[in-house]
C-alpha cells in the first residue's frame, strides 16, 4: 500500500499543492473580511458560522475536483492490467486512492480550522465553526463513496453521466416539493435564519441534530468502506470504458 500511496503523492504533488492553495482562497478572504472590517459588526454568532460555511463549502467543492481528477488520471488499460497482475494490486491501487481522498479531506478540515481560528483571533464575536466543517467532511466522503464506484465501473465520462441521474432525481424531487409541498417554514424568509438559530439553541433540538450527525457519520464511514470494496470488485469491469 505504501508504494501506491507514494506513487499517488509523487504523481500528484503539484496538483495537491495547487488545489490546497486554490481551495483556501475563499475561506482566507472571508476570514480576512470577518477579522478586521468594522462593517462586519452584524456578522456574529450563527450568522458568522454560515458565512464561514460558504467559504468551507467552496473549499470542499474545489478539493472534491482534485479527488475525482486523481481517479480519472489512471484510466489507462495497460496500467489497469499491470496493476491487476501484481499481488493484491487492485486492492492496493484503489485503497491508495481512497486513503489519499480521506487524507485530503482531513487536511481540508485542518486548514479550515486554522483559518477560522485566525479570523476568531481578530474578532471574538464570530463562531468557531469546527462542527460545521465536520459535517462538510462527511458530506464530502458521502459524495465520493457514491462517485468512485461509478467512475471505476463506467469510466470517468460515463460515470459522471450515471452520477447525474440520482442528482437529477434529487433536484426533481426538490422541484416537486417546492410546487406541492409544505412551504410554511419558508414563508417569512426574513426571520427564517433567526428561527433556525433559535431552534438550534434549544438543547433537545441540538441533541437530536447531534445524534443525527453521529449516526450519519458512522453510516458514511461504513459506506466509504463498502464503496472501496465495490470499487475493487468493479475495477476490471470498467476497463472497456477507458479511452486509452
Amino acid at each position: 500500500m505504501a508504494g501506491f500511496l507514494y506513487r499517488e503523492l509523487r504523481l500528484s504533488w503539484y496538483k495537491i499543492i495547487l488545489f490546497m492553495f486554490g481551495m483556501m482562497i475563499y475561506p482566507v478572504l472571508i476570514a480576512l473580511l470577518m477579522r478586521n472590517s468594522p462593517d462586519m459588526k452584524d456578522i456574529s454568532g450563527g450568522v458568522s458560522a454560515l458565512v464561514s460555511g460558504v467559504g468551507a463549502v467552496m473549499a470542499f467543492l474545489i478539493g472534491g475536483t482534485f479527488e475525482v481528477t486523481m481517479f480519472k488520471d489512471d484510466e489507462r488499460r495497460k496500467w489497469t492490467y499491470y496493476t491487476a497482475s501484481t499481488p493484491d494490486g487492485i486492492k492496493r491501487q484503489i485503497g491508495a486512492k481512497y486513503i489519499v481522498t480521506l487524507f485530503f479531506a482531513i487536511a481540508t478540515v485542518t486548514m479550515l480550522t486554522l483559518v477560522n481560528s485566525f479570523a476568531y483571533d481578530g474578532n471574538h464575536d464570530i463562531a468557531i465553526a469546527t462542527s460545521l466543517y465536520m459535517v462538510l467532511f462527511y458530506v464530502q466522503l458521502f459524495m465520493r463513496s457514491l462517485e468512485y464506484p461509478l467512475i471505476v465501473r463506467f469510466g470517468g465520462k460515463m460515470g459522471n453521466v450515471v452520477k447525474m441521474v440520482p442528482i437529477a432525481a434529487v433536484v426533481l424531487g426538490g422541484a416537486v416539493y417546492l410546487l406541492f409541498g409544505d412551504l410554511s417554514p419558508f414563508a417569512d424568509m426574513s426571520s427564517f435564519w433567526d428561527r433556525l438559530f433559535e431552534a438550534l439553541e434549544d438543547s433537545e433540538t441540538a441533541g437530536k441534530i447531534a445524534l443525527g450527525t453521529g449516526i450519519a457519520a458512522l453510516g458514511i464511514t461504513v459506506l466509504y468502506y463498502l464503496s472501496y470494496r465495490l470499487s475493487v470488485k468493479w475495477y476490471l469491469k470498467g476497463v472497456d470504458h477507458y479511452a486509452k
Binding site: 481560528s117 441533541g207 453521529g214
Partner: protein
C-alpha cells in the same frame, strides 16, 4: 559509537525543533490560566512535532523511508478499531471509578451521562467521528513522538525505557501550559509541580499504548487516531460523568486535581503497563 552519536544529535535536533514553537507560543500567548489567548496558536500547537520531524529528516538527510507513513501491515484493522474503542471506553470505566469511590453524594444515575440517553449516544457517536475529521492534529504529534523519537531512542536503550523517556519528553513539551494549570487546574497544594508529575505519569502510560499500536501496525495512523479521540473523549465523555443532569458538578471527597488522578489514571496505568509487558515479551520472543 559514531552511529550512537549521530542518533543522539538527531534526537537533540528534533527535540529543539519541537520544543521551540511550543515554548515560544505557549508563553507568548498564555492566558495565565493554562490556555492560550490565540485560537490559531492553540489549534496549531499539535502540528509542530510533525513539522519538526520533517525539518529534522531534511537536515539530517535521513529520508522518510522509516517514517511509518504507510497504512500498516496486513490485518491491521483490529488495531485501528482498538485505537478508537480504547479512548471511548476509558472514560466509561473512569466514570464508574469516579462514582464508586470519589463522588460524596449522588449516584451515577444522576449524572448527565445517564440522564439523557439521546445526548449520551450523540456524544459517543460524534466523538470518534470528529476525531477522524480532526485526525491531522493527532498525526501532528504522533509522527513526532511515536514515529521519530521512540524509534530513535530504541537505538540507544531497551523499548520500555524508550517509552518512559518519550513519555517524559512529551509531557514536558506541554510545560508552558502546565505551568499555568493546563488539564489539572490550579486548585491543589503543590501547584504546578503536581501537574507536571501527573502529566509525566499520564504521558508514559499513554506512550506505552500508542507505541504498542504503532509497533503492531508499523504505522503512526492508529496512534494518531487514538490520540485525538482520547483528547476529545476526556473533554466530552468524562465531563458528563462529573456533572449532574442540570449541569452542576457533584460533591467530591477530594479536590478536583485528585478527581482526575484517581478516576482516570488507574485504567491508563494498567493499560500502559500491559502494553510495556506485551512489547517486552515480543522483543524477548524475537
Amino acid at each position: 559509537m559514531q552511529s550512537k552519536k549521530k542518533t543522539l544529535l538527531r534526537i537533540a535536533l528534533y527535540i529543539v525543533l519541537a520544543y521551540l514553537p511550543m515554548y515560544v507560543l505557549g508563553f507568548a500567548f498564555s492566558d495565565k490560566e493554562g490556555s492560550l489567548t490565540s485560537a490559531l496558536a492553540g489549534n496549531s500547537l499539535m502540528l509542530f512535532p510533525a513539522i519538526a520531524v520533517i525539518i529534522t529528516r531534511l537536515i539530517t538527510k535521513e529520508g522518510f523511508r522509516d517514517a511509518l507513513l504507510g497504512t500498516g501491515r496486513r490485518k491491521s484493522g483490529k488495531y485501528y478499531a482498538a485505537a478508537v474503542i480504547f479512548p471511548v471506553l476509558l472514560p466509561l470505566v473512569s466514570g464508574l471509578i469516579l462514582h464508586l469511590f470519589i463522588v460524596k453524594s449522588g449516584s451515577i444515575g444522576d449524572s448527565a451521562f445517564c440522564d439523557n440517553g439521546m445526548l449520551t449516544t450523540a456524544v459517543l457517536l460524534t466523538t470518534p467521528a470528529t476525531g477522524l475529521a480532526m485526525a491531522a492534529h493527532g498525526f501532528g504529534e504522533e509522527l513526532g513522538w511515536r514515529g521519530y523519537l521512540t524509534p530513535k531512542l530504541e537505538e540507544l536503550m531497551p523499548t520500555p525505557l524508550a517509552i518512559v523517556v518519550t513519555g517524559m519528553i512529551w509531557a514536558l513539551w506541554h510545560g508552558p501550559l502546565l505551568a499555568y494549570g493546563y488539564d489539572f487546574g490550579r486548585d491543589y497544594d503543590f501547584f504546578p509541580y503536581g501537574g507536571f508529575i501527573a502529566m509525566i505519569v499520564m504521558c508514559i502510560a499513554l506512550s506505552a499504548f500508542l507505541t504498542w499500536l504503532t509497533k503492531r501496525t508499523d504505522s503512526v495512523y492508529p496512534a494518531a487516531l487514538c490520540h485525538i479521540v482520547y483528547d476529545m473523549t476526556c473533554a466530552g465523555e468524562f465531563t458528563m460523568f462529573a456533572m449532574k443532569a442540570d449541569g452542576t458538578p457533584f460533591e467530591y471527597r477530594v479536590s478536583e486535581f485528585w478527581v482526575l488522578i484517581l478516576s482516570i489514571f488507574p485504567v491508563l496505568i494498567v493499560c500502559g503497563a500491559v502494553c510495556i509487558m506485551l512489547l517486552r515479551k515480543k522483543r524477548i520472543s524475537d
